[in-house]
């Protein structure tokens, strides 16, 4: 039987993988949950394409892919701005796009963030592995044959549900009434990503502290020619915080750390003032989480990301608040991180507020395409 393929990969981009919300529930067997690095953008792209927010999307990294559409397709792009364009014409992000057969979506230079999410109405059709369509690169599992996309790959799309079908029909009518190469909705979803916490900062001078009660810092007004950006990432104290020397705690909450080139989907390696324990400690390995900031003996912290190991034995100095994981996932090598401590109740309040915004977006789209 010939499968109906709908998208051909012309160029794969630097690292483009199929991702969904991952495979939780298997961590006790050492299986990482994985999934999209920036789940907020991944869910937004799905909602804007008329999907259930768990559908499989493409995660493009830094240099995005070129994708040729073999049939009319409703899609949405969210997350990092990698300069998407359809047949050369800039394609707006964060809104439904209707692209006729024969057109090609390509990406240019990264303008903000580094991971873009492409959702197509219905979702990408790859087999589930351990309950998820996410690509787990280290295990060669899930996604498209367990690997990143390559030129010549052909991707199938699942049938959309009622909402996606209604949106596509609606946009198809509008497009045929116009002369344009594709149709973008006249409205967009903005404000869900905390981009205001990602600023272009000049120089390497230390940035004022982010410990509780000390207020924000010089960052707010910082500007400069450097291409690198600095993000203020909110964290909670971790279990081994008290084991660290005072100077190290001052450093983690007072200085910027750079994202090292060896950073990947598994973890972000940060470089800066080495962080030291007061005295050597023998620790037993135990569970880690998305956003655990652990410190190996060289003193350079590692933030564990989507494809992390499930357990770790290094001391943990902090834990990134869930609400800021999407922004952290958009940082690229050379960008810098400033940590700001917040309380658990603040972290929870911020996360719930973000979730309410996403729920409003979902409800708004349902209303618009009733």
């Amino acid at each position: 039987m010939i499968m109906s393929m709908s998208i051909e990969v012309i160029r794969p981009g630097l690292l483009t993988t199929v991702q969904d919300l991952g495979r939780p529930g298997l961590q006790r067997f050492g299986v990482t949950p994985g999934g999209a690095m920036d789940t907020l953008a991944m869910r937004m792209a799905n909602v804007l394409a008329g999907n259930n927010e768990r559908e499989a999307v493409l995660e493009a990294t830094m240099a995005g892919p070129s994708l040729a559409f073999e049939r009319d397709t409703l899609l949405a792009i969210a997350g990092g701005d990698l300069s998407p364009a359809i047949d050369g014409e800039p394609a707006p992000m964060n809104r439904p796009l209707y692209v006729p057969a024969g057109r090609t979506l390509a990406f240019g230079r990264p303008r903000r963030g580094c991971r873009a999410y492409v959702a197509v109405s219905g979702g990408f059709d790859v087999p589930e592995a351990m309950g998820s369509r996410s690509t787990y690169l280290r295990g060669g599992l899930g996604g498209y044959e367990g690997r990143a996309l390559q030129a010549g790959d052909r991707l199938a799309i699942r049938a959309p549900d009622d909402l996606g079908s209604r949106m596509a029909a609606h946009m198809s009518r509008e497009l045929s009434a116009s002369e344009r190469p594709f149709l973008a909705a006249t409205w967009s979803a903005v404000g869900l990503h905390p981009w205001e916490r990602l600023v272009r900062a000049a120089g390497a001078e230390p940035i004022a502290a982010g410990r509780p009660g000390q207020g924000r810092s010089a960052l707010a007004g910082a500007s400069g020619s450097s291409h690198a950006a600095t993000a203020i990432i909110r964290v909670l104290p971790a279990t081994h915080e008290a084991l660290f020397a005072d100077e190290s705690l001052n450093a983690i909450y007072g200085e910027a750390f750079a994202v090292a080139p060896q950073s990947d989907r598994m973890g972000y390696r940060l470089t800066g003032t080495p962080l030291r324990l007061r005295q050597p400690a023998e620790l037993l390995s135990e569970a880690v989480a998305f956003g655990t900031v652990q410190v190996p003996p060289d003193g350079q912290p590692i933030v564990l990301m989507a494809d992390r190991q499930t357990t770790g034995g290094y001391p943990r100095i902090a834990q990134v608040a869930s609400v800021d994981l999407p922004l952290l996932a958009q940082l690229k090598p050379g960008d810098r991180v400033v940590f700001e401590a917040i309380t658990a109740s603040e972290a929870e309040r911020l996360l719930l507020a973000r979730e309410r915004e996403l729920a409003r977006l979902r409800a708004g789209i349902r209303l618009k395409f009733r």
């Binding site: 939780p24 529930g25 298997l26 961590q27 006790r28 067997f29 050492g30 299986v31 990482t32 949950p33 592995a129 351990m130 280290r138 295990g139 599992l141 909670l236 971790a238 279990t239 037993l284 390995s285 135990e286 569970a287 880690v288 989480a289 998305f290 956003g291 655990t292 190991q309 499930t310 357990t311 770790g312 834990q319 990134v320 608040a321 869930s322 658990a344 109740s345 972290a347 929870e348 996360l351 719930l352 979730e355």
Partner: protein, 253 residues
């Protein structure tokens, strides 16, 4: 003689609950590698498998702690009032966990599974057996005999899918890791790293000394439980010949 209730309270009293960020809670039973502490970890993991706390997405037993990952958004959506009364998701999950621990007390842990792992020791499947023997001032045969006589406990699955952290290696054959790690330790390799021994489910870089290889697949992504071993299992290594190993490889598993 303590009543069952007193005993449950005593066992609950020395347990500490702490948050791991905003989406996980750690139950701490101790700070040492101790079979009795680990049995309590496994006991709670088993109870959670049968009666999960609300919002739970994962439970990860370790040497002396157990971590419950939870979804605060789902918790607020389904148990909003109770969660707010408890001061937030962590407070609510802690309360549920404390109740479960109280109720369970010293409830008997299911008998550990005893799992047999056939190993072809030495030669090209165990290239570092000679170094381990030299370091231990033993013959290769003695190293094999000591390794295969051990009674090992799976304390935790972690590091890689299906990788067991095993306790119980005889100090007589403990051998430091290699100074320069290999780029790829083949899947199935049985190795010694310091005072630990383990089996590699996937080809992975590593500095442990490879003393043999098992034809058993430890990571089975196509099965509902994708790990051959589970925390709490008891493991016995059984020496097999190269011929037997090849027969397994041909599909006798």
């Amino acid at each position: 003689m303590m009543t069952e209730r007193e005993s449950a309270e005593r066992s609950a009293a020395d347990i500490r609950l702490e948050p791991l960020g905003d989406s996980a809670a750690v139950v701490r039973f101790g700070e040492t590698i101790d079979p009795l502490v680990h049995r309590r970890v496994i006991g709670l993991a088993e109870r959670l498998a049968h009666s999960p706390v609300p919002g739970m997405t994962d439970v990860v037993p370790a040497f002396a702690s157990l971590t419950v990952h939870y979804d605060p958004i789902a918790l607020h959506a389904r148990h909003g009032t109770a969660v707010r009364e408890a001061g937030g998701s962590f407070g609510y999950v802690s309360r549920c966990l404390a109740e479960l621990i109280q109720a369970g007390g010293h409830a008997a842990v299911a008998q550990a599974r005893i799992v047999d792992i056939p190993v072809c020791y030495g030669a090209e499947l165990g290239p570092d057996l000679g170094e381990v023997a030299a370091h231990s001032a033993l013959t290769e045969e003695e190293v094999i005999a000591i390794h295969a006589a051990g009674d090992y406990t799976v304390y935790m699955i972690g590091f890689a899918p299906g990788f067991p952290y095993l306790g119980g290696l005889s100090p007589r054959i403990a051998t430091p890791r290699q100074a320069t790690p290999r780029l790829a330790i083949p899947a199935g390799s049985v190795a010694i790293g310091g005072g630990q021994t383990g089996v590699y489910p996937l080809a992975t870089p590593g500095g442990w000394r490879i003393i043999g290889r098992t034809p058993i697949r430890l990571f089975r992504p196509e099965e509902p439980i994708p790990s051959f071993l589970r925390a709490g299992d008891r493991v016995r290594f059984r020496p097999i010949t190269r011929k037997e190993y090849d027969r397994y490889e041909e599909g006798a598993t």
